[in-house]
């Protein structure tokens, strides 16, 4: 292994890592919020809206991210939508993630016993308050793990942004790989950085889960 490689490409790799983290955090949090909104609309909205949301979920979830990004970035200009790589990357990230998040939250809704919501309605709590105070905290019990899963999956989907020249981590490691004709080192670097993100995400997921399952722990 050639250590001087890391010295030479260190700054570029770090900046790539920064871009990856930016796209990942903004994109996945955006997707999380959009997904939650979709799940709520699906649950409480009128029937036609539900069909619409389901169609959206099926289409976006059913097609590869690369192709969505491709259509947005390369197809967009033909319809007058000229986005920069990072803009396109983040926008497509939000869109791509939202149906997965929506489905995870939908499963969370199913896990709340009906009686608890009835009790909340009986004392006159508003639907919004019921959602955020009664449903959401308990919904997180079964969904924190899948949410963590998906955040982790999204860390790796950031790699696809390289095809539209977002200077993210994979893009920079490929520069290193192709300029130096090495392959083990770039993969190692890549894995290390992803692993850092994954460890961070798991740690946070664990914290959240501990918090939301507090009431289930027994003395």
């Amino acid at each position: 292994m050639e250590l001087d490689l890391f010295v030479r490409y260190g700054p570029a790799l770090l900046s790539g890592f920064g871009v990856t983290i930016l796209c990942w955090i903004v994109g996945s949090l955006g997707g999380l919020v959009l997904g939650f909104a979709l799940a709520c609309l699906y649950r409480f909205g009128p029937r036609p809206l539900r069909w619409l949301i389901q169609a959206y979920v099926e289409v976006i979830r059913g097609t590869p991210f690369m192709i969505q990004l491709f259509i947005l970035y390369f197809g967009g200009p033909h319809f007058g939508l000229l986005l920069t790589p990072v803009q396109a990357g983040i926008a497509s990230f939000i869109i791509y993630g939202s149906p997965y998040f929506a489905e995870i939250f939908r499963s969370g809704f199913n896990a709340i016993p009906k009686g608890q919501i009835e009790a909340a309605r009986c004392v006159g709590l508003s639907e919004g308050r019921i959602l955020f105070r009664i449903i959401l905290p308990q919904m997180l019990v079964p969904t924190t793990a899948p949410l963590t899963n998906f955040f982790i999956i999204l860390t790796k989907e950031t790699a696809i942004l390289s095809v539209v020249t977002v200077p993210e981590l994979l893009y920079e490691t490929q520069t290193m790989a192709s300029e130096t004709f090495t392959f083990v080192e770039p993969f190692l670097v890549l894995s290390l950085f992803y692993w850092l993100m994954v460890i961070g995400t798991s740690w946070l997921g664990d914290k959240v889960e501990r918090r939301v399952t507090r009431h289930l722990r027994r003395a």
Binding site: R61, S107, E209
Partner: protein, 217 residues
């Protein structure tokens, strides 16, 4: 931009043939993911500190390392230690074992919503652990986790495209090849997306069907 359906039409047979690999790897991977995922989940929440730590480590590794690297390890590194798997087997195994880590976590999350009393009732009756899991816990965990499990299986279908790194001409790979020759990426990728969509929509429909069946009681 002139969108050419001819190009799609001409290349569709090759893409469909490639999709068969995608399907094979996906279905094989799913089987491993679901079965192995249940065991992993059981190990993860078991009281034995050893088992649960091993499972946690497994999950951390398979979620942490990019699947691409896992595949390269399975196919290119294992021969160095004398384990030479055929490409398809390596792909199915890698995809399934990786996905199992996610499946296990989904199930673990879902299991936490099953009131403890239900397990206690089973214990009090003397129901063996295996039956407890098979008849009481897993069905309910799957019921609650189904949308997330469907998510995971759909992701698995998509991620099967990485099998190209071990030389399998699955759908994404073949689409790229065709693009390289026709210089019509938009057409070919849209067609590929449509095929993925078809597979995934069927999967999703099955998921919803199962959900409606299980959402009783």
């Amino acid at each position: 931009m002139n969108f050419s359906f001819d190009v799609i039409w001409h290349n569709l047979p090759y893409m469909l043939a490639a999709a068969r690999w995608t399907l094979l790897i996906s279905v094989g991977g799913m089987a491993i993911s679901l079965v192995w995922g249940v065991f992993l989940c059981a190990a993860r929440i078991s009281r034995g500190p050893f088992l649960s730590r091993i499972a946690a480590l497994y999950i951390s590794f398979f979620r942490g390392v990019p699947l691409l690297v896992q595949l390269l390890i399975f196919y290119y590194m294992l021969p160095h230690v004398g384990l030479d798997l055929p490409a398809v087997a390596a792909a199915i195994l890698a995809v399934g074992m990786c996905s199992a880590a996610y499946t296990a976590e989904i199930l673990r999350g879902a299991l936490q919503t099953i009131p403890r009393g239900q397990t206690e009732a089973a214990l009090a009756l003397g129901i063996p652990t295996l039956s407890l899991w098979r008849r009481i816990l897993v069905p309910q965990a799957i019921r609650i986790g189904l949308p997330s499990l469907t998510n995971e299986l759909i992701l698995l279908v998509k991620v099967s495209s990485l099998a190209s790194v071990v030389g399998i001409g699955e759908l994404t790979r073949i689409s790229q090849n065709i693009t390289g020759e026709t210089y019509r990426p938009l057409e070919i990728y849209v067609a590929a997306a449509a095929i993925y969509f078809l597979i995934n929509v069927i999967l999703s429909a099955l998921g919803r069907l199962a959900e409606n069946r299980l959402l009783v009681g």
